[in-house]
C-alpha cells in the first residue's frame, strides 16, 4: 500500500485535483483532494463558529481578570456588581463546586484565584448578565484589593536558589536530562552559541467561546470550540463536582486552534454560571482578552556546543535549554521533554549531554503550540549546524547530509528510529529545486521588495540570501501515554442508497479531519454517502487534535471500524457469491467478487438492517524517559521536513522579504493532497511569523501588544510562493502508512529563513523573531 512516490516539485497554485498512485476508484476516497464540507460555508460566512452560538433566554458571561502579574488578593467585593440590574450571578472561588484547580498535567491552576494571582489576566471573578454590556459594566464594579508583589519574570532567575517559590513545589516544573555516549568526548572543531526564541501566539481567528446549557437536573451541556473534549470533560466534571455522565460536551465550530485550545479557558466558568443561574450562558472572549485567555509558545534560552571531526562528523552535542513556563504548568512537562529529546536534531550524534528545564514565572502561562518544544530547539541546532559548516569550511547542506539520521539511527534517548527517516532525501530534494529569478525585471513592483507597498526601497540596499533548515518531531503523545482514538461506524440503507455514519470525538479545528473520515469510509466501504456526526462526548475519546496525530489515530480508528463493518457485510454473502470473503470487496455501492467478476447490490444485501462497529485504535506502546539519563523509547513515530528559504534583506533598513520557500516533507501517505499542501503552507507561514515578526512582547510580566494591531502575523504579501515536494514513504506502523503533517512545516521553516537572513546580512541573528535593529550595527537592540 505504501509506495515510495517522490513526486516532482509542485509550484503553487496547485493545478487540477490530483490522485496518487493508490488504486482508489471510489470518488472522493483516500488519496483524492476531496472537497471539505465546511469550505464553502467558511468562505461565504455561513459557517457557525462557537462565537455564533445562541440559545433562547441565554445570559452572557464575563470575566474579571487580574491587572497584576503577581499580587496577593486582600479582598474581593462583588456587592456593587450584584446590585446592577440585569446581573444574574457574580461568582468567586468560593462558588467553585468541586476541585478548585485544574490543569492538563498538574492541577495547579485555580479555576478562580483566591489568595494570590500569578499572571496578568488571571481570572478572579465571573459574571453572568442579560446583556454582554451589562456583564462588562458589572465587571467594572467588582472591587478587588491587591497587594502587589515583585513579579518573577526571568526563568533562569526563577530557578536560582533563594528566589521566591511561586508554587508549593518550587519554580522548577521539570528538568529533563539526557545523557548518551561519552560525557567527556572532545572534538577537532567546536562551535558554541546562545540562542533565544520569544513568545509566539497561536493567533487563531476564532476567540475562546462556548455556550453552557443546564439540563434542569443538575447536569449541563457545553458547546465549545476545543481540541480534546474528553480531557476537557475530566477537568470540567471535577471542578463542577459532577460525575462525568452529567456533563456532555459537543464540539462547536472551531476557528483555529494550533495548541491554544488544549487547556481549558472559559469551559468551567461558563458551566458554573449556567448551573448557578439555571439559564443558558454564553461566553466569548474579545480579541484582547483572548491573548490572556490561552497559553502561548514557550520562550526559550538555549546554550549549545557542537563538536565535530575535521571531516565534519558530529562527535557531540551539549545543550542547555531553559523554557519559560509562565505562571502555570499547562503542558510544560511534555513540551520540555520534546525540547530535550529533539535537541540534537535529526542527526547521528554519538555523545550528547542535554538538559531541558522549564520554570514557573509570573509571565503568561505557556503550553502547547504547533511544533511543541521542537520549534525552539530546531532554531538552535540548525543555527549551530550552519555555524559548524562555516567553521569547517563545508557546504551547510553537505554537512547536514553527512550527519543525517536514517532508519535505524538512534536518538540521544537511545530510541531507534524505525520508520522512514529521509533526512538526506528531503535535503537533496529542496537543494535540487530551481531558485527564483535573481532580480525582477520590468516595471517597479513594490510587492517584490522588502517593505512591500510601504515603498521603502526600489532596490537600494537589498541583498539576497539562501538558507536551509531540517527538522523533526514526534507524532502522537509520548512517554507511555495511551492517547487512543475511538470510532463508531454504522452502515445502513436510506432511500434505497447505502449510507455510512461515522461518529468520533475528533475535533475538527480546520485541519480537515471530517473530510479525512469521509474519505476513509468511502474507500473502505465503497459507499458515496458518508455522514460524519458532530463530535461529542457521547462516543469514546478520540484523543487530542494535537501532536499531528489525528489523521493517523482517528483515521486509523475509522478505517478499522469500517473494516469490521465490511467483514460483517461480507459474512452475510459468503456462500451466495463465493465461499472466500477475501475474494470480495466493496466498491461503488456494490459487493464485487474479483474472481467471478460478479456484483451484488450493497443496499439489497443490507436490506432493512444495519451494521455497526466501534473500534478503539491504540498506537504502539511507549515508555517514560529515565529520570537521570533520559533513556527510553518514549515516542511513537517521527515526522521530518526540510525547508529552503530565499530572502531579500534591505541592509540599510533591516526590512525583510521572504522571496520563496521550498520544502520537502515525508507525509507517509497523503490522504488528501490538497489538505496536505494547506497544512504545509500554513505551517510554513507560522514558522515565517516566528522568524521575522511574531512576538508577544512582555515587560515586567505584562503583555504590551495584546491585539492584532501590534501582534503581527504574516499577510499574503509576507508569505511567498512555495515549491512543495510531498513524499509518501509509507510508515509501516500506521494505517495507509500515514504520518502526521501539521507540525513539521512550522519547525523547519523558521531556521531556514533565519539562515537566509544571515546569509544575506552576515549578522549573527541569534534571537527570533529577528527585528530590523538586528541588521544594523550601530543600534544595540537592547535585551538579549
Amino acid at each position: 500500500m505504501s509506495t515510495h512516490t517522490t513526486a516532482p516539485p509542485k509550484t503553487r497554485p496547485p493545478g487540477t485535483p490530483e490522485t496518487t498512485g493508490m488504486d482508489a476508484p471510489t470518488k472522493d476516497g483516500v488519496g483524492s483532494s476531496a472537497r471539505r464540507p465546511d469550505g464553502v460555508p467558511k468562505v461565504t460566512g455561513d459557517f457557525a463558529y462557537s462565537s455564533d452560538l445562541w440559545a433562547e433566554g441565554m445570559l452572557w458571561g464575563a470575566t474579571v481578570r487580574s491587572p497584576h502579574p503577581r499580587a496577593r488578593i486582600v479582598s474581593i467585593d462583588i456587592s456593587k456588581a450584584l446590585a446592577l440590574p440585569g446581573v444574574w450571578a457574580v461568582l468567586t472561588h468560593e462558588d467553585v463546586p468541586g476541585r478548585k484547580t485544574y490543569g492538563l498535567e498538574l492541577p495547579d491552576q485555580p479555576v478562580l484565584a483566591w489568595d494570590q494571582v500569578r499572571y496578568e489576566g488571571e481570572a478572579v471573578v465571573i459574571i453572568a448578565a442579560e446583556h454582554p454590556e451589562t456583564a462588562r459594566r458589572a465587571a467594572d464594579r467588582v472591587t478587588i484589593v491587591y497587594e502587589e508583589l515583585d513579579p518573577i519574570t526571568d526563568p533562569e532567575a526563577a530557578l536560582e536558589v533563594g528566589t521566591d517559590a511561586l508554587h508549593p513545589g518550587g519554580n522548577l516544573v521539570r528538568h529533563v536530562p539526557i545523557r548518551s555516549g561519552d560525557q567527556d568526548a572532545t572534538a577537532d572543531v567546536v562551535v558554541t552559541g546562545d540562542y533565544a526564541t520569544r513568545m509566539q501566539d497561536q493567533a487563531f481567528l476564532g476567540p475562546e467561546s462556548g455556550l453552557a446549557v443546564p439540563d434542569g437536573e443538575g447536569g449541563v451541556d457545553l458547546y465549545v470550540a476545543t481540541q480534546w473534549m474528553h480531557v476537557d470533560l475530566g477537568q470540567l466534571a471535577g471542578s463542577l463536582g459532577l460525575t462525568e455522565d452529567r456533563v456532555r460536551i459537543t464540539l462547536a465550530g472551531v476557528g483555529g486552534a494550533f495548541g491554544a485550545r488544549e487547556d481549558l479557558s472559559m469551559q468551567i466558568h461558563c458551566c458554573m454560571l449556567a448551573l448557578h443561574t439555571n439559564r443558558p450562558v454564553k461566553m466569548m472572549y474579545s480579541r484582547e482578552e483572548s491573548f490572556y485567555g490561552h497559553v502561548h509558545r514557550h520562550p526559550a534560552r538555549m546554550h549549545y556546543e557542537h563538536g565535530a571531526t575535521k571531516a565534519g562528523d558530529l562527535v557531540y552535542v551539549k545543550a542547555k535549554i531553559v523554557l519559560d513556563g509562565g505562571a502555570y504548568a499547562s503542558s510544560s512537562t511534555a513540551v520540555v521533554s520534546n525540547a530535550a529529546c529533539f535537541a540534537a536534531g535529526p542527526y547521528n550524534v554519538p555523545n550528547t549531554t542535554i538538559d531541558g528545564y522549564v520554570a514557573y514565572t509570573n509571565n503568561p502561562p505557556c503550553g502547547a503550540m504547533r511544533g511543541f518544544g521542537s520549534v525552539q530547539v530546531c532554531f538552535a541546532y540548525e543555527s549551530q549546524m550552519d555555524k559548524l559548516a562555516d567553521a569547517l569550511g563545508m557546504d551547510p547542506v553537505d554537512l547536514r547530509i553527512r550527519n543525517a539520521m536514517t532508519t535505524g539511527s538512534r536518538l540521544p534517548t537511545g530510541q531507534k528510529v524505525e520508520g522512514p527517516a529521509p533526512v538526506k532525501e528531503l535535503l537533496e530534494s529542496i537543494r535540487a529545486m530551481p531558485l527564483p529569478p535573481a532580480t525582477p525585471a520590468g516595471p517597479l513592483d513594490l510587492t517584490r521588495y522588502p517593505g512591500g507597498v510601504s515603498n521603502t526601497t526600489h532596490g537600494e540596499g537589498v541583498r539576497r540570501g539562501i538558507g536551509y533548515g531540517v527538522g523533526f518531531k514526534n507524532i502522537a503523545y509520548s512517554e507511555g501515554f495511551d492517547d487512543y482514538s475511538t470510532a463508531r461506524v454504522k452502515l445502513w440503507v436510506s432511500g434505497g442508497e447505502p449510507i455510512v455514519e461515522v461518529h468520533t470525538a475528533a475535533a475538527e479545528v480546520g485541519q480537515g479531519i471530517v473530510t479525512v473520515q469521509m474519505q476513509i469510509a468511502r474507500t473502505e466501504l465503497g459507499v458515496d454517502q458518508v455522514v460524519v456526526l458532530p463530535a461529542d462526548t457521547q462516543v469514546g475519546s478520540a484523543g487530542s487534535t494535537s501532536a499531528s496525530r489525528q489523521t493517523s489515530m482517528t483515521g486509523g480508528a475509522v478505517r478499522r471500524a469500517c473494516i469490521a463493518v465490511r467483514m460483517r457485510v461480507l459474512q452475510k454473502v459468503v456462500g451466495t457469491l463465493t465461499d472466500d470473503p477475501g475474494d470480495l470487496s466493496l466498491n461503488g455501492g456494490k459487493i464485487v467478487s474479483d474472481s467471478l467478476g460478479m456484483t451484488l447490490d450493497l443496499a439489497e444485501v443490507i436490506g432493512a438492517g444495519s451494521f455497526e462497529e466501534t473500534y478503539e485504535y491504540h498506537h504502539r506502546k511507549t515508555s517514560p524517559l529515565d529520570p537521570e539519563t533520559g533513556q527510553g523509547d518514549a515516542h511513537v513515530a517521527f515526522a521530518f521536513s526540510a525547508h529552503r528559504a530565499v530572502c531579500d534583506v534591505d541592509l540599510e533598513l533591516g526590512l525583510v522579504k521572504v522571496v520563496e520557500l521550498a520544502t520537502a516533507q515525508d507525509v507517509g501517505k497523503a490522504i488528501n493532497p490538497q489538505a496536505v499542501e494547506g497544512q504545509i503552507e500554513g505551517g510554513s507561514a507560522q514558522g515565517l511569523g516566528l522568524a521575522v515578526m511574531e512576538e508577544i512582547q512582555i515587560k515586567d510580566g505584562k503583555i504590551m501588544n495584546p491585539s492584532f494591531t501590534d501582534y503581527l502575523i504574516p499577510t499574503i504579501l509576507d508569505m511567498p510562493p512555495m515549491q512543495i515536494d510531498i513524499m509518501e514513504l509509507g510508515d509501516p506502523d500506521s494505517e495507509y502508512g500515514v504520518k502526521g503533517v501539521g507540525e513539521p512545516p512550522a519547525i523547519s521553516s523558521t531556521p531556514a529563513i533565519v539562515a537566509a537572513l544571515r546569509d544575506a546580512s552576515g549578522k549573527p541573528l541569534a534571537r527570533i523573531p529577528v527585528r530590523p535593529d538586528d541588521f544594523l550595527d550601530f543600534i544595540s537592540s537592547g535585551d538579549d
Partner: protein, 295 residues
Amino acid sequence: MEFFRPASLAEALEIKAAHPGGIPIAGGTDLMVEINFDKRRPEVLIDLTVCPELQEWSRSNGTIRIGSGVSYSRLIAELAGELPGLAIASRTVGSPQIRNRGTLGGNLGTASPAGDGVPPLVAVGAEVEVASTNGARTLPVAEFITGVKKNALAGDELIVAVHVPVAKGPQQFSKIGTRNAMVIAVATFSIALDLESRTVGTALGSSSPRPLRAHDAEEFIAAELDWAEHTPVPANVAERFGELVAGVATPIDDVRGTAAYRRHALGVMAKRTLTWTWDEAGRLGAPAEWKGPRS
C-alpha cells in the same frame, strides 16, 4: 446611544451643534476599534457617510478640495496624478477593505502620530476646512493636529474638507513597518519637490507627537540641488539631507520599534525618496516642461 444619519452637511452641523459631545463616524475604521476595545462609549453617534458634500472632491485654482469622507481607494484611483504623495501614502494604508472604508477626514479626526494621510498633506502645506453652524474656517494641517490624538476641532465643528495644492513636481512617501502590508507606521517620510518655486517640502510621521516638517533639511536641499541642470544629487548631500531630517525627529521606544531605529530609518528614507523624486524630475525634464507627475 442615539444614532443620527444626516442627509446633508447642514443637517450634520445642526446635529453637531445640538450635541457637541456627539461623535462623528465616517468609515469607522478607527472609531469602531475604539468602541470594541471599550475605550469609548459614545452617547451620540453621527454617521457622516451619506452627506453628499463630504463625499466629493473638486479642483479650482491649482488646489484640490477633498471632502473629508473621500476614501483612500478613491484618492488612489482618482487623484494619483495630481496628488501623487497622498496617493502613495494612501496605498500603504491598511488593506483593501480599510482603504475602501477609511477616509482622510477620519485620519485627521483621530490625529494619530501614525496617521499616514497626514504627512503628505503637511509636506505640501495643505489646509483643513472645518465648519459649524456659525460658519467655516481653514487652518494648516500642521496646526490642526495639536498633539497625540488631539486636534483643533471645537465641540460643534466637523471636518469638511482638505485643500491640497496640485503637485508642482515629483512627490514621494515612504513608510517603515515590520510587515510588508497592513501595518501601523514605525516611521514615515514625505517629500514634495516644487519645480516652479524650486523648493522642497518634507514631513515626518510616527516620529513625534505632532507631524513635523524638517525646515532646515528643506532649506539645505533646496539650496544644494542643481535645479537648472538636474545633475544627480551628490551622495554626501543626500546623506546630509537625511541627517537633517533625522535630527528633527523626537521619536519614542515602543512595541513597534526603538527610537534609535526610527531616527536611523528616517535618514535612510529621506535620502532615498530625495533621490527618487530628483531622478524623476530629471527624467521629466526642466521645470518649464513639467506636465505633472505620471499617475
